[in-house]
């Protein structure tokens, strides 16, 4: 997955990062990564052999031997080269498989946890982004950065040993140039970080500018400001470019230092070798003077000595992005949001009369702990919870449905404690009409009958006073609702939910402010539908301010402010 450029730039500027994405790699992917590094080492170890072949061939040419016999050596070189490419591929595939496993595992953990957390969790869009493209950003870290890291740990040492075996001076050149690189990169990286901290503070990212303007486009068009908005964007983008370039001028120095040392290292090895071969430098080799073959051999090793470091440097930003994602995942995991009761899975209806009792229940929300009044509702009874907003009416309904976990006290339903075991079975007997109904992107038929029982909907719709809604939709029951389809208003959605309650034969109806924000006629229809449910034997609990609705219930429970 390509990283947007702005992110690359940002990451370029923050080279020293906390090692945290590493914690995402569990045992199984670690094993794959180990296999991957073995393949990379096999590939790396083949290169000195290939270099030796070239060195031998050139040395033979120089002494006038070996004419057409070079073909055999060339064949060996090609075979080794293909073997090396194969080993690289095996290693890369295993590293990718490791990344794939980590991502699958993290997605599973995230879904397992967050689908059951409801109260005060991160926004749906943020969670979805984390689950999809953000977690995918961990992949290059595992499949590119980690292998580059293990290559850097071994291959330069191997090539250095080969070089030392031939000439200690050439080895010394690499020893000096090699380890100096990280030092200089760190220095430049620090300078870049400082520069970025001074300047990046005001740099908004170009996509944020774009998103802002697209989201505001309807307003911009109404303001007749399209030209002004574009000119303003161009201005800001130009400012962003200038400031970014100012930072990049410093930031790119670190990779230039790397290139420079690599180039100087190779050049010095070449020049040293040339002078030794001419006999002008006689030290450096061990017993005998340096031969042409040996010279070619160490020249071919020199660039490869630096290559793992260069790979590592170009994968730096992968690590930075992965660390950011990992930090986000950890913050989410650490959030103290208890899950709902039960598993949200289908269950057979909990046995027993539809009675609800809440005694001594308290819970903490938004950092404030508070006690809720006791409540007992008999089967078939209808109760209105009344009281000022913020007193905990909605909270009590959520508790009754097992959507919130009480901190203390006991909730009993159908004569049993409401807990992880009973919650799903209890919810199978419930119908819940929330204040704002989320209308999913499905057909009306699937909305009313989510488990596809195929029951006839005419009666249920009529009893919920919802027949007119269906008649007015262009394709009746087959109309798609939700984001991409025909919208239904809040009052319509509540009536459709009541129709579903009739259809499913729910025994307990929980309704949160079912008549709020509605015109009188619609409110009356909803009150009538609730009364109808009550008459058919349902237990009905509503949270409401509406005196008309209160009057239609058997009993009104007044909730006090500081109960």
């Amino acid at each position: 997955m390509p990283l947007p450029m702005s992110r690359n730039i940002g990451a370029e500027l923050h080279m020293p990062a906390k090692p945290s994405a590493r914690q995402l790699i569990t045992a199984a992917p670690k094993r794959l990564l180990r296999q991957s590094s073995y393949w990379a080492l096999i590939s790396g170890a083949l290169w000195p052999v290939q270099a030796g072949i070239i060195a031998w061939v050139i040395a033979q040419w120089a002494t006038g031997h070996l004419g057409t016999g070079a073909w055999a050596a060339a064949g060996a070189f090609a075979a080794l080269g293909i073997g090396r490419g194969w080993a690289d591929r095996m290693g890369a595939r295993r590293a990718f498989a490791a990344a794939d496993q980590v991502i699958a595992e993290q997605r599973r953990l995230l879904l397992d946890r967050e689908t059951l957390r409801m109260d005060g969790r991160a926004s749906s869009a943020d969670l979805a982004a984390l689950l999809s493209e953000k977690l995918a950003m961990v992949s290059p870290y595992i499949s590119r950065y980690t292998p580059a890291m293990s290559r850097t740990a071994v291959l330069p040492t191997l090539y250095l040993a080969c070089t030392f075996y031939v000439s200690w001076i050439a080895g010394l050149i690499l020893v000096v140039a090699g380890p100096l690189i990280p030092v200089f990169m760190a220095l430049v990286g620090m300078a870049a970080k400082e520069a970025s901290e001074r300047q990046m503070a005001q740099i908004g990212d170009m996509n944020a500018l774009l998103i802002d303007r697209i989201a505001a486009l309807p307003d911009i068009l109404l303001l007749n400001a399209a030209d002004r908005s574009r000119a303003d964007f161009a201005d800001k983008a130009e400012g962003l470019r200038k400031r970014t370039m100012a930072v990049l001028r410093v930031a790119f120095l670190s990779s230039t230092v790397l290139e420079l040392f690599a180039a100087i290292g190779v050049a010095m090895v070449a020049v040293y070798t040339g002078f030794s071969l001419l006999g002008e430098i006689t030290i450096g080799a061990w017993a005998t003077p340096l031969t042409l073959g040996e010279g070619v051999f160490i020249l071919l090793l020199a660039p490869e000595f630096f290559q793992p470091l260069r790979d590592l440097a170009s994968a730096w930003h992968d690590k930075a992005s992965a660390d950011a994602v990992s930090a986000e995942l950890q913050a989410l995991e650490a959030a103290e949001t208890p899950p709902v009761l039960g598993h949200g899975a289908p269950a057979s209806r909990l046995e027993g009369p539809a009675r609800l009792e809440m005694t001594g229940v308290s819970l903490t929300r938004g950092g404030v702990s508070r006690a809720l009044p006791d409540l007992a509702v008999e089967p078939g009874e209808s109760v209105a919870l009344k009281g000022p907003s913020g007193v905990g009416k909605s909270t009590m309904l959520d508790l009754a449905a097992g959507l919130l976990r009480p901190e203390s006290g006991e909730i009993r339903v159908a004569g049993q404690p409401l807990d992880d075991e009973t919650a799903d079975g209890w919810r199978a007997r419930l119908a819940f009409v929330p204040q704002s109904v989320h209308v999913p992107d499905v057909t009306l038929r699937d909305f009313l009958d989510p488990h596809r029982s195929g029951a006839d909907m005419t009666v249920a719709l009529a009893r919920a006073r919802a027949t007119g809604i269906v008649d007015a939709l262009p394709e009746g029951l087959e109309t798609r609702l939700g984001e991409t389809g025909a919208g239904v208003s809040g009052g319509e959605a509540r009536r459709l939910l009541l129709a579903r309650a009739f259809l499913s034969g729910a025994e307990v109806i929980l309704a949160d402010e079912p008549t709020a924000d509605l015109d009188r006629a619609t409110a009356a229809e909803i009150t009538a539908a609730l009364a109808d449910l009550r008459a058919s034997g349902c237990t009905v609990i509503v949270a409401t301010h509406d005196p008309v609705l209160c009057a239609a219930m058997d009993r009104v429970v007044e909730l006090e402010g500081a109960a």
């Binding site: 450029m5 730039i9 061939v57 120089a62 002494t63 070079a70 060339a74 064949g75 090609a78 080269g81 090396r84 591929r89 890369a92 689908t115 409801m118 749906s124 869009a125 969670l127 979805a128 493209e133 774009l210 998103i211 989201a215 309807p218 068009l221 007749n224 908005s229 574009r230 303003d232 161009a234 130009e238 370039m245 790119f252 990779s255 230039t256 290139e259 180039a263 100087i264 190779v266 050049a267 001419l278 042409l292 010279g295 070619v296 949200g344 899975a345 289908p346 959507l403 419930l430 999913p440 488990h451 008649d471 007015a472 262009p474 208003s489 809040g490 009052g491 924000d517 509605l518 619609t522």
Partner: protein
């Protein structure tokens, strides 16, 4: 593919000179890299030959060794320049691509634009433009630079070594590289579409699940949803796995190509040396350059593997305007408005989008300059739809609306907007200063004018407390409370000084006292405007000269019988 070409031209035309110099330095870096290895190889072999022949003293060591040093330092410097220049060119191109996108979106119907505001639509747009950023940087630039480098290398090798070696390397790399890369491009087209589709489906599924979480848990439908999301997830990973397999295969093919071509040069050179055509040092140039030219093909495969993704992104970014009602105010000739006429509705019928029953039928009223009318009615009764129709944003099904005496259809869009302003219920601010947000309305904005309008919407104190007009707001106006953001959008609307002002719930979220003051402020700021406000609150009702209640759709009234 034609669309990718359009995008590339667009990216390059932002600043052809910037792109050109970036490309030139890319070539310089590649050539210097190959030259460094070639020269080093030649130097060592030649000195070795000289040493064997015992003519070491006569050998000119200084020019080649200076050349090696120059190429080493020059390559590093050129690489630095290349990175700076290509990033500079890309940043310019990014801005230009995004401006083009905005220009195209401006032609979209309002309904479609409002749908775009969802998080998933916006993420998709950014993902698309990000993918397109790579068309120049990851695809066109390295591809062009690679081909040029090979042509230059051909010339130099033919001159310094022999045309046979030059031809085998250039032909080998160009033909072999092209075959591998074309195959990668062809094979990744379908899987990259698949991967992208699956990722979008995964994101949509997750948003749907998390938004509807309460319902899903209450219905005991979590396992069903999870199974669906897990399927999408597995599909996305399978597609990415396939892409990686193709990518790995291409990497293997390309590194095999390098090994085979180097071997070919080794073998051919042996024959040439035996025949006395070239010496060992010349042959070494060929071998080393063969190895160095790997740099021109190996990095290309990632860019090529993204072609499918880029193609799809280009298709969406350059997509045709989506279907929707034709613009209402689409006249080309300037009308002759009557400033005393206000706004008039004659027998207007409105249909609710997606329904075939009228929402409002036979509605007639007029509002004169200086008067205010309040529209009330239950939610869903058609208040916002009516305001959209009055603002010429959506069409009406029957009747006529006249703005300043001229039917809406006889206005050119931009002239209508000079006289008529709609503040929708959901309006968005921009990140940036408060001044930037206000200046969007009028362009030139004096401090006095800005403070005057902020006073009218009771924001003077709030803005002063935040540090004045240059106080910075976050993305979408973050940092202001809901009520403050609402009033800033209102101020922005007032600055247009429209003859007709249409307000949808202008005081929502304000306490009654502030709401009253704001409505008073609006009326005294625009004493001669005809104002229509949809509202159910007392502040508007008290100040209004006229009232109109909408009774809702026929669907309701039928059921009431």
């Amino acid at each position: 593919m034609k669309r990718l070409w359009v995008i590339l031209k667009l990216l390059c035309s932002a600043d052809p000179w910037a792109m050109g110099r970036g490309a030139a330095l890319t070539v310089v870096v590649l050539i210097m890299g190959a030259a460094l290895l070639g020269l080093s190889g030649w130097f060592i072999t030649a000195t070795g030959l000289a040493g064997i022949a015992g003519i070491g003293i006569a050998f000119d060591v200084f020019r080649p060794s200076a050349g090696v040093r120059f190429l080493a330092l020059g390559r590093a410097a050129a690489r630095y320049g290349e990175r700076l220049l290509t990033h500079d060119a890309t940043l310019r191109a990014l801005a230009s691509l995004r401006i083009t996108l905005m220009r195209r979106l401006e032609l979209w119907p309002m309904e479609a634009l409002r749908r775009l505001r969802g998080a998933s639509a916006l993420t998709r747009i950014t993902a698309d433009v990000d993918a397109l950023d790579g068309v120049a940087l990851r695809l066109a630039l390295p591809l062009t630079a690679g081909v040029i480098t090979h042509l230059v290398a051909f010339g130099l090798l033919a001159w310094l070594v022999t045309p046979l070696i030059a031809l085998s390397l250039t032909a080998g790399y160009l033909i072999g590289g092209a075959l591998v890369l074309l195959r990668v491009a062809a094979r990744t087209l379908a899987p990259s579409t698949r991967a992208e589709t699956a990722m979008q489906a995964l994101r949509r599924g997750a948003i749907g699940l998390f938004r509807g979480q309460r319902e899903v848990i209450l219905q005991g439908a979590l396992p069903d949803w999870r199974a669906r999301i897990d399927t999408e997830e597995a599909e996305a990973r399978a597609a990415h796995d396939l892409l990686d397999r193709i990518d790995g295969g291409a990497g293997f093919a390309l590194s095999s190509l390098v090994a085979l071509l180097t071997a070919l040069v080794l073998g051919l050179s042996g024959g040439l040396i035996a025949a006395g055509g070239i010496d060992a040092a010349q042959a070494a140039i060929g071998v080393f350059v063969a190895l160095a030219l790997a740099e021109t093909v190996l990095p290309l495969r990632r860019g090529v593997a993204e072609i499918g993704r880029m193609r799809d992104a280009a298709a969406r970014v350059l997509a045709d305007v989506p279907d929707g009602p034709a613009p209402v105010a689409a006249a080309t000739r300037s009308p002759d408005p009557d400033p005393d006429a206000g706004i008039e509705l004659c027998d207007v019928t409105l249909m609710r989008p997606g329904r075939d029953l009228p929402l409002v039928e036979g509605l007639s009223f007029s509002v004169a300059p200086g008067e205010m009318l309040v529209l009330s009615g239950a939610s869903g009764a058609g208040k916002s739809t009516l305001l959209d129709a009055l603002a010429a944003v959506s069409p009406i099904a029957g009747g006529e609306i006249r703005c300043l005496g001229v039917p809406l259809a006889d206005w050119p869009e931009s002239e209508l907007r000079q006289h008529l302003m709609l503040l929708p219920q959901r309006s968005a601010l921009l990140g940036g200063s408060i001044r930037d947000n206000l200046a969007l309305s009028v362009g030139e904005l004096t401090d006095a004018a800005a403070w005057e309008v902020l006073r009218a919407v009771e924001l003077e104190r709030v803005v002063a407390d935040r540090g004045g007009l240059d106080a910075i707001l976050g993305e979408g106006g973050a940092g202001l409370s809901g009520g403050e953001a609402r009033r800033l959008s209102l101020a922005r609307a007032l600055l247009r000084k429209p003859n007709i002002l249409l307000l949808d719930e202008p005081t929502e979220g304000l306490d009654p006292a502030t709401a009253r003051a704001v409505i008073q402020g609006v009326r005294s700021y625009l004493p001669t405007a005809a104002i229509i406000a949809a509202s159910h609150r007392a502040a508007e009702a008290e100040s209004a000269d006229h009232h109109r209640e909408l009774n809702g759709p026929r669907g309701n009234s039928i059921m009431n019988q």
